[in-house]
Amino acid sequence: MVIKALDRKLLRDLRRLRTQAVAIALVAASGVALFVATATTYRSLRLSQSRYYEGWRFAHVWVRLARAPDRILGDLAALPGVTAVEGRVVSEAILDVPGVEEPATGLLVSIPPGARHSLNDLYVRRGRHVEPGRPDEVLVSEAFAEKNGLQPGATLFATAARRRVALHIVGVALSPEHVMQMPPGGVVPDDRRFGVFWMARDQLETLLDMRGAVNDVALRVSSPAFEAPVIDAVDRILEPYGGRGAYGRRSQPSHMMLEDHIVQLKGLALIVPLIFLAVTAFLMNVVLSRLIGTQRAQVGMLKAFGYSHLRVTTHYLEMALVIVMVGIVAGLPVGVWLGRIMAVFYASFFRFPVLVFRLEPAVATVGAAVTMLAAASGALGALRRVATLPPIVAMSPAAPVYRPTPLDRFLPRWLGPAARMIGRNVTRWPARALLTTAGMALAVALLVLGEASVDSINRMIAVRFHTAQREDVSVLLSHARSLEMWRDFAALPGVRRAEPYRSSPGRIHAYGRAQDVAIYGLAQSSVLRRVVDTRFMVISPAAEGSVISSWLATRFGIRRGEPLAIEIREGRRRVVTVRVVGMVDEPLGASVYMDLQALGRLLDQPQTFSAVNLLLDPARQSELYATLKRAPEVLAVELRRRALANFRAMSDDSLRFVRRVVVLFSAIIAFGVVYNAARIAVAERAYELATLRVLGFTRGEISSVLLGEIGVLAVSALPLGFGGGYALFAVVAKAMSSERFRMPLVIEPRTYAFALIVFTAAALASALLVRGRLDRLDLVEVLKARE
C-alpha cells in the first residue's frame, strides 16, 4: 500500500505532537470510559431489576387494611386489568435478637399454603422453605440475617399482637418487595435493626386471630394504564374494611429507594462524561489552532499546488479524529471493566438474585460517536481558518505583532518587564486565555462538585439528626392512646424525658397527582423533636394550621394561607382540610407538621398520641431496651443513633466511589489543560525565552515568566471554578432531589480548599514537566531556527 505524502505528514505531525495528543486522548478516554461504565451499569441494573421483578412477579399495587374476609379477593381479582391478587396477613413485631441489646423491628408476612406465591415470590438463598405443619418456622431476609449473624437453625423471639412467639429460622430469602429494607417510619434501610420474616399463613392467622381473613393485599395489573383505576377501585371496595389507601410502585418504600439510586446513576452517566467531552473539544481546539498557526505556510503551499480547501481541511480533521480514536479505543475496555465492577458492586449492594451484564453496542456507539463529534466540533473553529485562507496570504508568515491594548494604560509603572510580558501575553490572545481559563475552571468546578455532595450530606445529617431530632429513642405504638398515658413512658427505667407526639400516614391530592406524606403532631413544648430547615431555623408549628415541606409546596403549587386537603390513611379514611401557615425547607421526607392537639381534633381523636420520644440515661439504657422488647403496645422502636449511622453508611457507600472517580478525572483535566497551555506557550515563545537566557536571565527567571502567565490564568480560574462548581452542584442537586431526599445547596470552605489544593497540585505537576523542557532549551538551536 502506498502511503500518500499528506498522510505521511499527518503521521509525522502526530509524532511531533505526541505528548499533547496523549493528553487529549487521555481526557477523551476518561470521558468514554466513564460514560460506558455508568451507562452500562445503569442499563445492567435496569435489566437486572426488570428480570428480578418479572421473574419473581413483583406486584404493582399494595394496600394495608384492618381486616377483610378472604372472599373479598375474588372481587378484587375481577377488576378490569387485574391479573393476579394475593391476600396476606402481615404484622409488625418487636424482635429480641440473641446477643443484641437494642430491640429490633420485624415485619411478619404470611406465605400461602404450599408456598405458591402468585406475587412477590421468594428466592431462597440458603436453608429451605417452611414446611406445612411445623410450627414457628420462618424464612428471614438475607440482609438482616447477615448483619445479625443469623443462620438457619437459629431462634429468636418476637412480640406481636401482644404475644411473644419463637421464630425458628429454616432459611434465608430475598423478595423483590424488600430489595431495600425500609423500617416503618425510617428514611434509610436499616439492615441490622429491621428484618422481614415469612411464615406459614395458618400460623400467622392463629397468632393474629385472623382466620379466614387478610389485612394486606398485593395486586398485579396487565398494563401500567390500569394502575390508577385499580387503585381507586381497590380503595372503594376496601373502604368498609379499614383500607388504608392503596398505592402503586411509585410509593412502595423499597422500590422508591431503589429507583432513587438508579436515577442518580443515570444522572451521573449523563452529566460527568459531558464535562469530559467539553474539555476534549476545548483541548482539540487549542492544539489544532496552534498547529495550523505554525503551518500557515504549509497550508498555503498545499493550496498553491492544487490541493482543494476541502482536502486540506480534512487533513487536519483527520488528525483530530485519529487522536480521539486512540482515546476511544483505550477508553472502551476500561469503561467495560469499570462498568462490570460497578454493576457487580451495585448488584450485591441491592442483593439482586440475577445480574444481567452486557455491553450494549448502542452504548459503545453513542459514546464513540459523541466523543468524535466533540473532537470535530472543537476542531471546527481552527479548521475554518484553514478553509478560508487564500494560498498567497497563507504563505506569507503571520508576523508576531504586538499592538498596544487598553491594558497598557493600566499597568503600573513599578511593574517589572517580566510582569509586563505576562500581562501583555495574556491580553495578546484574549480568546485563548479565556478558553484556557475556562478549561481550568471546569476542572476546579468538577472538584467542587465532587466534594460538595459531602457537605450537603453533612448538612442533611446536622439538620435532621442533630437539630430536628434530639431524642435517643422514638417508640411507635401499635395504636393511638389517650394523652394522659404518656407519663407511663416517662416513668420507664432510664427515661430522663418523654415527649408524646402523633404521626399518621396521609395523602395529598392536587392537580391529578397524589403524594403520600407523613403527618406529625408535635406538642408546643416539644424539644426532642422540632421542625428545622436547612439553615437550622427552628419553626414551631402554630396552634392552628400546618407547616409543610417546601418540596411539597413547590411540587403541588401550594401557597401560604391556602387550604390543603389531606386524605387520612388510618382508621376511618376520610379527607380533611387544614390551612397552610408555613413552609419548611427540610432535606428529608415529605411531611406536614401540626400541633399535637390540633391533629388529634382533626383525626376525631382529641387528646391522643401514637408515639413518644425518649431521652435516656446511658447507664440504664439496657434496662429500658429489655422492657421495650416485651412491651405489648409497642409497634417499633427507632434509635436516632442507629438511624444516623445507617444514613451515614449508605451515603458513604454510594458516594465514596463517585468521589474518587471525580477527583481522579478532575485531576486529569487540570493536568491536561495546564500542560497543553504551557506546552503551547513554550513552543510559541521559545525564541523569546531563549533571547532572555542570552541576555543573562537564569532558568528560574524565564520559567517564572512562562509559568507566571499560566499561574495568572490559573488564579483567575479559581473563583470562576468555585462559582461554576456551585452552579453545577445546584443542577446536580436538583436532578437528584426526590420526595425522600433534597440535597441542600451547601458548600463549605473545606470543599473550596480541597479543590484549590488538588487543582494546584495537578497544575504544579504539569508546570514541573514543562519546566524540565525549558531547562533543556538549546539556545543556539532556538536562535538559529528563526534564520
Binding site: 508576523a399 508576531p400 505583532v401 504586538y402 499592538r403 498596544p404 517589572g416 518587564p417 517580566a418 509586563r420 510580558m421 501583555r424 501575553n425 495578546r428 525564541y687 523569546e688 533571547t691 532572555l692 537566557r693 542570552v694 541576555l695 543573562g696 536571565f697 537564569t698 532558568r699 539556545l779 543556539v780 536562535l783 528563526r786 534564520e787
Partner: protein
C-alpha cells in the same frame, strides 16, 4: 592596545548531525584586547557564529580552551555561564530578538533590572539615537530602529564585551550605517571590547583589527592603519 580580554586556544566544535559529523571549528587560536573593535569576516559556514556563540557563553567547544579575564569559560557550568552573560556580555543579533510585548524602554529595562550599575533605559536609548521612541512597541519601529534598540539593550548594563552577529544583515545601507555608527560610538565612548561578525568585507574597514575565517579556521589577521567612519562605508 590594552590587556587581553579573551584568549582562545585550540578551539574545535563538532556537531553530530545523525550519522554525519560537521566540523564547525577546526582549531581556532586568537586573542582579543580590551577596548578593541574586531571584525570577524568570512563566508557562510566559515564558523564565525559558532565562534561568537562560544565566546559569548551560549555554546561550549568540543575541545580547546576559552579564557575570559583569567577565568576558563570551557570549564564553567550553566550557572556560571548565565552569570557571565548577565554581567559581562552584550549580544546583538541579526534579527534584533526584541520581546514583541515590551516597548523599547521596557526591552532595555529587561537588562537594567538585572544589572548592578546600569545606564537608565533612557540613557542607553539616547546613546543609540532612540531617545525619542521610548514607548513604541517593536512592531511600531523600522528594522534599523529595532536594531538600535537591541544595541541599547546590549550596552545598557555597561558590559565588558559587545558581541554582534551580522547586525546589519537584515538592513539596507542607510539603516545599516546608522546601526554601525551606534556600535562604533559605544566602542569609542565606553571602551567596550567589541566583536562584530559579518560576511560584508566593506564593514571590515571600521575595525581596529580584522580576523578572516574560512572553513573553521582563522586564515588572516590584519591591523587597520585607520578605522574608517561608518558613514564613509558604501556597499
Amino acid at each position: 592596545m590594552g590587556e587581553g580580554v579573551f584568549v582562545v586556544s585550540g578551539v574545535t566544535k563538532v556537531y553530530q548531525m545523525g550519522e554525519i559529523q560537521v566540523h564547525a571549528l577546526r582549531g581556532v587560536d586568537l586573542s582579543l584586547s580590551a577596548g578593541e573593535l574586531v571584525v570577524l569576516l568570512g563566508p557562510s559556514g566559515s564558523g564565525k557564529s559558532t565562534l561568537l556563540n562560544i565566546i559569548g557563553g551560549l555554546d561550549v567547544p568540543t575541545s580547546g580552551r576559552v579564557v575570559y579575564r583569567a577565568s576558563d569559560l570551557t570549564a564553567a557550568d550553566d550557572q556560571t555561564l548565565t552569570r557571565y552573560r548577565r554581567e559581562s556580555v552584550g549580544f546583538v543579533f541579526q534579527f534584533y530578538n526584541l520581546v514583541p510585548t515590551l516597548t523599547a524602554r521596557e526591552n532595555v529595562a529587561l537588562v537594567t533590572d538585572l544589572s548592578s550599575r546600569p545606564f537608565t533605559p533612557e540613557e542607553a536609548l539616547d546613546l543609540v539615537g532612540m531617545g525619542h521612541r521610548l514607548d513604541h512597541f517593536p512592531s511600531q519601529l523600522s528594522g534599523g530602529e529595532q536594531q538600535r534598540v537591541a544595541i541599547a539593550r546590549a550596552i545598557a548594563k555597561r558590559p565588558d564585551v559587545l558581541l554582534c552577529d551580522e547586525p546589519t544583515g537584515a538592513l539596507d545601507v542607510t539603516a545599516g550605517t546608522v546601526v554601525l555608527g551606534a556600535i562604533a560610538r559605544v566602542n569609542r565612548e565606553l571602551g567596550t571590547t567589541t566583536a562584530l561578525i559579518t560576511h560584508n568585507a566593506v564593514i571590515a574597514d571600521m575595525a581596529d583589527r580584522v580576523l578572516q575565517l574560512a572553513d573553521g579556521r582563522v586564515v588572516g589577521d590584519r591591523q587597520n592603519a585607520r578605522r574608517a567612519l561608518p558613514e564613509e562605508l558604501r556597499w
